[in-house]
């Protein structure tokens, strides 16, 4: 265990040093007092994320609540009017005589919707003058009105309508950010990484909207507290549960239903939330004699509880458990799923210092069972993490907010292996690899004037291979060149990467802002996929003696404008991303049965650049947005495409989304979505030849062609009958792909049986007009 101690104390001493430097330089300010506290929703007791806290006298001084509803402002002695506000909530102003440090916990009331119907579809950026760039926040309550396939509202599918975010394919809950691969998104559910965020071959995401409070996507220029993935961070927070009274909610749809219960454990002090969801597609299969022995379903369970120990300390426990099962009679079955558990302890150590300590367990595995008449075996793989995080937020003064922390993750990855009645010991005994991924970070938000805001900081990420007594092989091309045995529990190779991050905002005037940002991200875990779409059987692999950390350097530049008294918001962002140490499979890679998958890999570099435009209408009866992305993503891998640059499958030149919701009256609202994007880059045959009497196709250079352009329109209508006492319900009717566009899902090439001696291309489309109804209730 010495290695752990060493690594840890090494990190810790650096951290301590950094902290001390800041403490000594900033502690000379006197005669100032701090006002701090939490902002909560009055009706549910849920803490509010991102609520605005402004000092009335001076418009430039203010803050917003953090992810745990905490705020802290330090001001000179005096009397202040402080305004607390949040979207869809009535604002609250309190006058504070600041002659000592004060705690002010505030509750906000839901805005009563009297004559004036105000709907906000995308959460208002608390202030366009924040330095952070490429941040998209979703209000989960409001996305429920948008049409979605199968009527199953989904955070990720709504994200796909934002600039710079693309869908992996028709109906898919996989998403691609600024040309990144699906595994380059860090997906967090209550701080726990989720390794596979999709259900049922990708048509559903693992996020049950009923359990979710807030979702934030950061496209690339992530602040230093996040790390480990190149493209983006999707930070999803679960609801805490109502600590005032019990509530039950549910939804019944064509494909799945969900139920949730929440309430106080001790009134006002603690609460719980339980949410479950299950699909019942398999019930339809049961009805058909041909498929009755087959199974096909998934379920999710979200649980959370929190407890206020006292004013300064709060504990949260949350968990997620989800599983998919597919089976063909008893001959073949596959099941996969994620489990995460998080324990967090919030502590207000000092009115200026907020601490959060987190312990996380995260697991993803899959298993394929195969049964023959005399042999039975399975193919399985797993990734399991134990994760410790300590984060501090130090509200030094009105000009500086410092965040710093440390994170240590122990990964255990079991590569794809066969077990059961098989003979190849090399494959069946592939051992679980261990590694330690750790990081220390420090980042400061500095507002030197009310026009300038700068976030600057760095993250040092360290990845160490921890031995398990087995061998690591090194390859030169195909050939095993060398090997090394790392003894059990000792540290093998260690990778150090320093990731500087900086973003700056300059306010031209009250309505116009310019932003610029640079960041470096490192990725130590890689998802290997030889498929053109993400499969549950894609496997994760860590850095090794062949694989070095993936690196991305991103520069972005943006212009933001509020128009017509904040009714409209315009944003223009451009980015350039340089990628190093990208990984791909070589041609004809044998990924499942090869003895060591590392022998099947190739390495290279990538680049991605683009322009993102977005216009939002934020208030009024009609709300919505238009987003447009112009982009290019390329790779150059030694051993692919004659070592020339090629566009990746994530590349889509144009991508347009139009989203609108119109509130007709208190009961009815209608929404529509239009999506258009350039077809995915694919490899088509240009010629053909004869092998063994079969037509064999001669393919073009990699991804040299495009699928036909993708477009569709969806409609939905939401009916909310008048609330009866506590009972609130809504009906949602939607049609996916209204005009029945046959969007190409696959294009195949085959002999034309109608015209023997010729060949043809056949396109398969998945969904034409998918109507759905869902009913949601809450009491």
């Amino acid at each position: 265990m010495m290695y752990k101690k060493n690594l840890f104390s090494n990190h810790f001493s650096r951290l301590l040093l950094l902290t001390l430097i800041f403490l000594t330089t900033k502690s000379a300010i006197a005669q100032n007092y701090t006002i701090s506290g939490r902002v909560k929703d009055k009706s549910s007791g849920e803490v509010m994320i991102g609520a605005s806290v402004m000092v009335q006298s001076s418009k430039s001084i203010g803050t917003s609540t953090n992810e745990y509803g905490f705020y802290s402002i330090t001001l000179a002695k005096g009397t202040y009017a402080i305004k607390f506000s949040n979207v869809n909530f009535a604002e609250y102003i309190d006058t504070v005589v600041l002659d000592k440090n004060k705690v002010l916990n505030v509750v906000l009331n839901t805005k009563s919707q009297m004559n004036d119907i105000v709907v906000v579809s995308r959460k208002r950026d608390p202030s366009i003058s924040k330095a952070q760039m490429g941040v998209e926040k979703l209000d989960v309550k409001e996305i429920s009105k948008l049409p979605v396939i199968f009527g199953e509202k989904d955070v990720i599918k709504t994200l796909q309508l934002l600039p710079g975010v693309k869908s992996e394919g028709e109906g898919s809950s996989g998403f691609l950010v600024r040309g990144g691969a699906p595994d380059q998104n860090l997906i967090l559910l209550d701080e726990a990484p989720v390794y596979n965020a999709s259900h049922l071959l990708g048509f559903f995401s693992t996020f049950n909207s009923d359990a979710i409070k807030d979702a934030t996507l950061i496209k690339g220029n992530t602040p230093a507290q996040y790390g480990g993935r190149l493209s983006s961070v999707l930070d999803v927070k679960m609801n805490d549960g109502n600590n005032k009274e019990f509530h039950y909610a549910g939804g019944i749809g064509l494909i799945s239903s969900q139920l949730s219960a929440e309430g106080p454990l001790q009134k006002g002090k603690s609460s719980f939330l339980v949410t479950g969801r299950r699909t019942y597609l398999d019930m339809f299969l049961k009805a058909s004699p041909q498929y009755k022995d087959n199974s096909l379903y998934f379920y999710d369970l979200n649980v959370k509880a929190n407890y206020d120990i006292n004013n300064a300390n709060r504990i949260y426990i949350s968990g997620y458990f989800g599983r998919d099962k597919l089976g063909l009679a008893d001959a073949f079955g596959i099941d996969w799923g994620n489990t995460t558990a998080t324990i967090r302890w919030n502590s207000i150590i000092h009115p200026k210092l907020f601490s959060n300590t987190t312990f996380i367990y995260s697991n993803y595995d899959y298993k394929i069972n195969i049964k023959g008449s005399s042999i039975t075996f399975n193919i399985n793989s797993r990734i399991r993490d134990i994760n410790f995080k300590q984060d501090f937020q130090w509200y030094i003064n009105t000009k500086n907010t410092l965040k710093f922390g440390v994170n240590v993750i122990k990964h255990e990855i079991t590569p794809t292996r066969f077990q059961g009645d098989i003979s190849n010991d090399t494959i069946s005994t592939k051992s679980t690899r261990k590694s330690l991924e750790s990081a220390v970070y420090i980042t400061n938000t500095y507002n030197p004037t009310n026009r300038i805001s700068i976030d600057y900081g760095a993250r040092l990420s360290i990845y160490s291979i921890i031995g398990n007594g087995s061998q690591y092989y090194m390859y030169k091309g195909d050939v095993k060149a060398d090997s090394i045995t790392v003894a059990d529990g000792t540290v093998g190779k260690t990778f150090y990467n320093l990731e500087p991050r900086i973003s700056m905002s300059y306010k031209l005037d009250n309505n116009n802002n310019l932003k610029v940002a640079y960041s470096r991200n490192t990725q130590h875990l890689h998802l290997l996929s030889n498929s053109t779409s993400t499969n549950p059987t894609d496997q994760w692999i860590g850095n090794s003696y062949n694989i070095t950390p993936e690196l991305a350097d991103q520069v972005s530049l943006g212009y933001f404008r509020n128009m017509a008294n904040n009714k409209y918001e315009l944003s223009v962002e451009t980015y350039y991303k340089d990628l190093q140490h990208q990984i791909d499979y070589k041609n004809a890679a044998d990924i499942i049965t090869s003895n060591d998958v590392e022998s099947q890999l190739l390495y290279g570099k990538g680049r991605a650049y683009g322009l993102e435009l977005s216009i939002k209408k934020k208030t009024g009866r009609f709300t919505g947005w238009l987003s447009y992305t112009l982009s290019r993503t390329e790779r150059k891998i030694d051993g692919i495409n004659n070592n020339d640059w090629y566009v990746t499958k994530q590349d889509r030149t144009h991508d347009i989304s139009i989203v609108g919701t119109y509130t007709i009256n208190k009961k009815w609202s209608v929404s529509g979505i239009i999506v258009y994007y350039t077809g995915a880059a694919v490899t088509y045959p240009e010629g053909k030849y004869n092998v063994g009497g079969n037509t064999t196709f001669l393919y073009s250079t990699r991804n040299g062609y495009r699928m036909p352009a993708y477009h569709r329109m969806d409609w939905s209508a939401t009916y909310e009958p008048q609330k009866k006492k506590k009972y609130h319900s809504s009906w949602n009717f939607s049609i996916y792909n209204v005009y029945g566009r046959e969007n190409a899902y696959t294009i195949k090439f085959e002999d034309d049986t109608n015209n023997p001696g010729t060949t043809k291309a056949v396109q398969t489309a998945l969904f034409k007009w998918v109507p759905s109804i869902s009913y949601n209730f809450k009491f």
Partner: protein, 264 residues
């Protein structure tokens, strides 16, 4: 696994619809295709040489004539094959020997292409049995997959290629298998072929070829070409030939067996 997985996907997506489309494809430069086979079933070795054509042309592949083709058995003096009409080159009177390496050399317009392949030891195809794909269905709706029964030898790196016929109709799917995880055990794995439906009372013929690992690699890549686009499949590439010099095709020394069985 991929096939089973995508079969489920196909079953789930009952709403999917297919149509023929016309694509705007570039012209491709015509390339030489060499298919050379040394088989244990005959003392005649046949090498076919043709050229590739564009995708939207008819499947008429121009024969390459005037090539000089030689075959050598385990390093013995090469013998020159006789040219027949239609780009076919044959050598007669050479009996294949298991374990021997055969060398092929083809010279076309002054450029020489060479290859070698080792004749594997034969593995006996004992029987063909059938796997019921959907046991719950009505008897006339039952669909089967053939299971070639053979005992894989312990000797590592056995590779196989199969061709199946249903009532004389050939399945064009490329089917190859190796013993990387099933070394030394009786084969139980059915031949899953998506568009090939076997029903009760059909007459099924299965041809089994033992091939060398390089040829397996070639056909394995060919088998991954099916499917293109975000809906599945790997990105297709042209398989690397085991013939040097930049041509399409392969050279294979292979064993041959066949069995015909009626689905019970």
């Amino acid at each position: 696994m991929k096939i089973i997985y995508s079969t489920i996907l196909a079953a789930v997506l009952l709403l999917g619809c297919k149509k023929d489309i016309k694509l705007d494809l570039n012209q491709s430069a015509s390339q030489i295709v060499i298919e050379g086979i040394v088989s244990d079933k005959s003392t005649t070795q046949t090498i076919t040489i043709s050229k590739s054509v564009n995708f939207y042309e008819n499947n008429i592949y121009p024969a390459v004539t005037g090539a000089v083709v030689t075959i050598s058995d385990n390093g013995a003096t090469p013998v020159v094959a006789t040219e027949l009409p239609g780009g076919i080159y044959q050598n007669q009177g050479m009996a294949a020997v298991y374990g021997h390496t055969y060398y092929m050399s083809v010279t076309i317009a002054g450029i020489t292409y060479t290859a070698k392949s080792t004749m594997p030891y034969p593995v006996t195809l004992n029987d063909i049995t059938f796997y019921n794909n959907n046991p719950g269905a009505k008897p006339d709706k039952l669909e089967y997959s053939a299971i070639p029964k053979f005992d894989d030898p312990i000797l590592y790196q056995n590779s196989y290629k199969f061709v199946q016929y249903d009532n004389g109709l050939k399945d064009n799917t490329v089917i190859v298998r190796n013993d990387n995880v099933t070394n030394g055990i009786t084969n139980e794995e059915p031949i899953f072929s998506r568009d090939f439906k076997i029903h009760k009372s059909d007459v099924i013929t299965v041809e089994m070829y033992c091939i060398d690992p390089n040829v397996y690699h070639y056909f394995f890549l060919l088998s991954t070409q099916a499917g293109s686009g975000p809906g599945g499949g790997t990105t297709p590439t042209n398989p690397e030939s085991n013939i040097s010099g930049g041509v399409l095709g392969y050279f294979s020394a292979q064993t041959y067996q066949t069995k015909t069985v009626t689905v019970p």
